[in-house]
């Protein structure tokens, strides 16, 4: 196995659900040793969320859990018990990073807040991911991914003017927050390694979104004009347009790109027409242009449109299904899709590396752990508990 970039980094994943698990999955896939700590008996809530093969719920077959927790080892631990709290501290003592997603008051109530853990390991990076952050009036508010998105300002502008604002696809906001947390965690790891100073990283999902998924708030600050929900914020053609066998997304506001598009259509006369000569004129006469444009599109497949337009350097792409993506020449040529071999569900394709490093590979090795799969290895081999002691802990429901 080749050297991986983070192979000297030890991580504890005490998180629930998606954001924390995706954060630590990124660390694990680039080499970190990640121990996922789950509550005994039930395990992580994502084990109870689908998808399941044939829609038959089974905590050891959750597609979501398997996607999020590959390359990690798994133990169970009741951190609310005194023995469990001590084991967590023992683990913290030999780790670089702890990732958690509890409401801000929970770990301090167990004597396991940042202050408590800092005294165990002053170099610890403790990444705390919550919907609204560790402080402030909403810090204890409950929220789904949609709720955080609603407050970010982006949902208000996403959708059609006379209808309700729309969320993004399920869960993508949590993945966004998890990726943000992974970046912040690596930043704090530098301070820990270089200066020997650990700290808590307070990741508010809301703030991770406002500063990134939406570039509109500053528009309001600059112009005093609130951005409405609208279909064509940047000139036409914009959006997904139908063609013979599907849809192609365009975002061609500027004159230069519009001219290239007309060339791709072999219709240079269009941009010479005063109705469409400028970005303002095109917005005013959008529907007339779209009628011509859709007429052209319907004569072609999405693959043909993609090629004709890209040959003229028009920025566009077809809307693909997963089935089409798995056969897409680019993703196939780059061998993007990977595979997991899980004891309970067998071999299944998975998504692959989010980026490729020339020296230190991304690796998909170990499948997601079964509940408590590594209890003995971690407690006996690494923390020095005897077999009898682990049996005692098990009998008391600590593991």
């Amino acid at each position: 196995m080749a050297d991986q970039a983070l192979s000297d980094v030890r991580v504890l994943d005490l998180s629930n659900n998606i954001a924390g698990a995706y954060c630590t999955r990124l660390l694990a896939d680039y080499g970190a040793d990640v121990i996922k700590i789950e509550p005994p008996f039930h395990g992580d809530p994502s084990r109870r969320t689908g998808p399941f093969p044939n829609d038959l719920p089974d905590p050891e077959k959750s597609g979501l859990f398997i996607h999020l927790n590959g390359n990690k080892r798994g133990i169970t631990l009741d951190i609310a018990s005194s023995a469990g709290g001590q084991i967590l501290k023992d683990l913290v003592n030999r780790s670089d990073i702890l990732v958690e997603t509890f409401t801000p008051s929970y770990l301090p109530s167990l004597g396991l807040g940042y202050g408590d853990l800092e005294s165990v390991n002053p170099k610890l990076v403790m990444t705390s991911i919550t919907p609204f952050g560790q402080t402030g009036p909403y810090s204890n508010y409950k929220s789904t991914d949609v709720g955080v998105f609603a407050m970010s300002g982006r949902m208000y502008v996403h959708g059609l003017p006379d209808q309700a604002p729309l969320p993004y696809a399920p869960d993508v906001i949590w993945y966004q927050v998890g990726t943000t947390a992974a970046a912040a965690t690596m930043g704090a790891l530098f301070t820990s390694r270089v200066q020997g100073i650990g700290q808590q990283v307070d990741v508010s999902a809301l703030e991770a979104l406002i500063g990134n998924v939406d570039n509109r708030p500053l528009f309001y600050a600059y112009t005093g004009v609130k951005t409405p929900r609208q279909r064509w914020p940047g000139g036409i053609p914009q959006g997904a347009y139908p063609c013979r066998d599907g849809y192609v997304v365009f975002g061609v506001g500027y004159d230069l790109y519009f001219r290239r598009l007309c060339d791709a259509m072999s219709r240079p006369d269009i941009y010479q027409d005063p109705r469409w000569a400028t970005i303002q004129a095109r917005t005013e006469n959008a529907e007339e242009f779209e009628a011509i444009f859709i007429g052209w599109l319907m004569e072609h497949s999405k693959g043909e449109v993609f090629q004709l337009c890209q040959a003229q350097r028009v920025m566009c792409a077809p809307v693909l299904s997963f089935e089409e993506m798995m056969q897409d020449p680019q993703l196939v040529a780059r061998s993007f899709f990977a595979e997991t071999d899980h004891p309970n569900i067998g071999r299944l394709p998975t998504t692959g590396a989010p980026f490729r490093m020339s020296q230190t590979p991304w690796q998909t090795g170990r499948p997601a752990p079964l509940l408590g799969e590594h209890n003995s290895t971690v407690l006996c081999d690494e923390l020095g508990y005897s077999r009898e002691e682990t049996a005692r802990l098990r009998a008391h429901g600590v593991i």
């Binding site: 993945y175 947390a181 301070t191 406002i210 570039n215 914009q238």
Partner: protein, 427 residues
């Protein structure tokens, strides 16, 4: 920096940022937030897309005709804090000479060209690693650096389509043509890029080895659709747009509130929250209604249930609904618009927005950092740079060029602080 706080994580790390538009520039800002010295090298005299004249630019004072419009664009300035800004025409041999000196004193180079462009410009990894063998170079194209789509160009909206996300975020029972464009792969790519660079720097600190990162923005986003992808490979199911609804849970929606275009999101995720909702809305009869007796019934009858809930929310302000429901332990959030964001008491209490003074755009509140490192100084050190703002500092102080040399670069149009009219006026 305050005396009691440790140095910022990336103090001493120098980054050349050649990226454009959103994903790359924001990644550069985030590395700047972490303390790196980021030098934004802007092409000249060709303006980058976000400095170009156009719609949806967000000019300060809403005036595209005031002087220096390229410095007054919210679209550009939102993603370019904490950087030193220089201009440089690297197609000119003198420009390339200077560029290679800059690379020689840097640790990271980031670019977001269409795959193949870096090679054409003479700045691909083989060339850059000759200039600086231990450099970490990040290339973040749409589809990756090799394969049949090399040379294909895209903005985030097209990649959102390619990954299938466009088709998943519409209203129920609609086709993709009614769904507006978004650029979410940019948001995803920016933070993934920072993680990638820090991962490579971590390895370099231990081994002295640099490397090349090939980040396809499509590939870095696709894992974010992992749940739906697993459902496809396990069950052959293709995701349909759900709008504000949930595959399993109900009530789960976006409800109109009192006033004009005011909305609240209410997402009930368990029995306890359902009973709390009935209680706080003073509708105990919902909990008694046989149609809503269990989660399956509530999901099956959600049209009627949503109508009843909206009957209650319509009587109330969105913030009031959020507070009432949150006090009862029900997940509910007001849909905030731009005006609400800047007024929000929580964001104010956390000091999220930061007031920055910009020499061309004036003073404004900017959205702040994406995270809080609790022992680090989180204040933005550098306002978004104006065009070529730090030419004298970077070329003079850092590279040791004389005033006369810098003036001759200006005279030859290799660097500059203003776009010539004929370049800027043509879009």
């Amino acid at each position: 920096m305050s005396g009691s706080k440790p140095a910022l994580p990336l103090e001493g790390v120098r980054v050349i940022d050649m990226t454009e538009v959103w994903a790359g520039p924001l990644a550069g800002s985030l590395l700047g937030d972490l303390g790196a010295m980021v030098i934004k090298v802007e092409s000249f005299p060709r303006p980058s897309l976000t400095r170009l004249k156009g719609l949806s630019i967000g000019y300060s004072d809403n005036d595209p005709n005031a002087p220096r419009p390229w410095d007054r664009a919210a679209l550009h300035n939102m993603a370019n804090r904490n950087k030193y800004g220089v201009t440089l025409n690297i197609r000119h041999h003198r420009g390339m000479e200077i560029f290679s000196k800059l690379v020689g004193i840097s640790d990271v180079l980031a670019e977001s060209f269409t795959a193949g462009t870096a090679t054409r410009l003479g700045v691909d990894y083989p060339v850059i690693s000759e200039m600086k063998p231990d450099i970490v170079m990040l290339s973040m194209s749409g589809w990756g650096e090799d394969g049949p789509y090399k040379g294909y160009a895209a903005l985030g909206s097209a990649l959102d389509g390619f990954t299938g996300h466009h088709a998943m975020r519409g209203y129920p029972d609609t086709d993709p043509s009614t769904t507006p464009n978004v650029q979410h792969t940019d948001a995803a790519g920016s933070v993934a890029a920072v993680f990638a660079v820090l991962t490579a720097l971590h390895y370099r600190r231990q081994t002295g080895k640099g490397q090349w990162i090939d980040m396809s923005q499509v590939e870095s986003f696709l894992p974010h659709l992992g749940g739906a992808f697993m459902d496809y490979v396990m069950n052959g199911r293709t995701p349909e747009p759900l709008g504000n609804r949930h595959q399993y849970l109900a009530p789960y929606g976006c409800y109109r509130c009192r006033g004009d275009d005011n909305w609240v999101v209410i997402n009930v995720t368990c029995e306890e929250e359902w009973l709390a909702l009935c209680n706080v809305t003073e509708h105990p009869e919902w909990a008694e209604d046989p149609r809503y007796a269990d989660p399956v019934g509530r999901h099956r009858n959600q049209d009627a249930l949503d109508e009843a809930i909206q009957g209650w929310t319509l009587q109330r302000d969105k913030m009031e609904v959020m507070q009432l429901l949150q006090q009862a332990g029900v997940p509910a959030q007001a849909v905030l618009d731009d005006v609400d964001l800047y007024d929000d008491p929580h964001l104010k209490a956390r000091g999220f927005f930061q007031k920055l003074r910009h020499s061309a755009a004036g003073e404004h509140d900017y959205p702040g950092l994406l995270w809080k490192l609790t022992k680090a100084d989180q204040s933005v050190r550098l306002s978004p740079n104006t065009l070529g703002e730090h030419n004298d500092y970077v070329y003079g102080e850092l590279l040791g060029m004389s005033v006369r040399e810098i003036e001759s670069l200006r005279a030859e149009g290799i660097i500059g602080e203003e776009f010539p009219d004929e370049v800027y006026e043509v879009t």
